[in-house]
Symmetry: C2
């Protein structure tokens, strides 16, 4: 059965790899599963055919045979539970790696996403400029805590796991703001993630769709 | 091995059950596992002993023997994978239920949490009043999509699952704003969740700690 994921026909980031298909592509590369991509336009994302796959009208989705999933975290957990390479075998270590998946998505990503919302959805609002330092400080607070926990370790809990894959993916989104580089160990952690051959392949695959010259 | 979770010594909501220990208590009640609670003060949550358990200085945490977890989503998934009652047995249905767990935490909860942040952390800021309709409309957008998907079904995908447990828990947080009641089927869905005996026991347990008369 061929795995089919969806991705933006044209990512708003123009090929920086920050859309959520990149993290799913990365997971597929880590576990060595081939996949096909169906590109979806912004218009088609809000139409019934796509809403049947993704009730919130977003990408990515995942289809394999008669299984259809959405939410990048759920897709990556599904891949990690069914293929070797993204979760430790020992039960306790596995549960801790999954904890980091949720921490990336439910604790670290929300304040980072707020910065995107503040820029791109609220950028023209009267409060936009004055509010920005508040948004940035909320990110700093959570990155400071993460930085302390990571310390000098290579990955969050032992070997690289799906928890690291999601945390690096989430942190990549804040790098353009300069805030990531205020935490040297987190910047190095993200660079370690990016250096993985599986990430490189995933990044190149989304770039082939989204690079300016491809348009 | 006794399961030990942490909860606020005094919840900011004064016993409304909206703190994240309630969802973990609910899951423990659904799967029929006894548990003990260690109450933590706001001060102690930021001290090294608690930060070792929870790097972001929050509640709840979960300890069982030599396993320690944080993040309510991860704790509930761990319980659901190790005890019957919160996930279907069939592999595809199980993956879909887990998708709803992530949807609750990564898609539906962030705009709802923004409303709490706008009220309690930004309430005294100069932009607070003018910005509030923008915050509320972001919630309406996601609830409208969820409402369409739920339709007249009792639960999100077949029988009640950990996905419903988390979605109901997340939606409860927006009910005080009045926005939930704009979507009759979602309000009824939340009421179905609250009516479950396991939820009732979880709510009563947190109320026993947090009710004003208990202080």
């Amino acid at each position: 059965m061929t795995i089919v994921i969806t991705a933006f026909e044209r990512s708003p980031d123009g090929g920086k790899g920050l859309a959520r298909d990149t993290r799913v592509r990365w997971a597929l590369e880590e576990v060595g599963q081939p996949y096909a991509v169906r590109l979806v336009s912004f218009k088609a994302m809000k139409e019934p055919a796509h809403l049947r796959l993704h009730p919130f009208g977003k990408i990515p989705t995942f289809e394999e045979g008669d299984l259809a999933l959405f939410e990048s975290g759920a897709i990556i957990l599904h891949l990690a539970q069914n293929h070797a390479g993204l979760l430790p075998d020992a039960a306790n270590a596995r549960a801790r790696a999954i904890t980091w998946m949720f921490a990336a998505l439910n604790t670290v990503e929300p304040p980072i996403l707020d910065l995107s919302i503040a820029k791109f959805q609220e950028g023209d609002k009267p409060w936009a400029k004055e509010r920005m330092p508040f948004v940035a400080d909320r990110i700093r607070n959570v990155l400071a805590q993460l930085s302390v926990r990571l310390g000098e370790a290579g990955w969050l809990d032992g070997d690289f796991s799906a928890g690291d894959l999601l945390m690096v993916s989430v942190l990549l989104r804040v790098r353009p703001s300069g805030i990531l580089d205020e935490f040297a160990n987190l910047a190095a952690y993200v660079a370690r993630g990016e250096a993985r051959p599986a990430y490189q392949r995933a990044f190149a695959a989304q770039l082939a769709v989204n690079a300016p010259q491809a348009r």
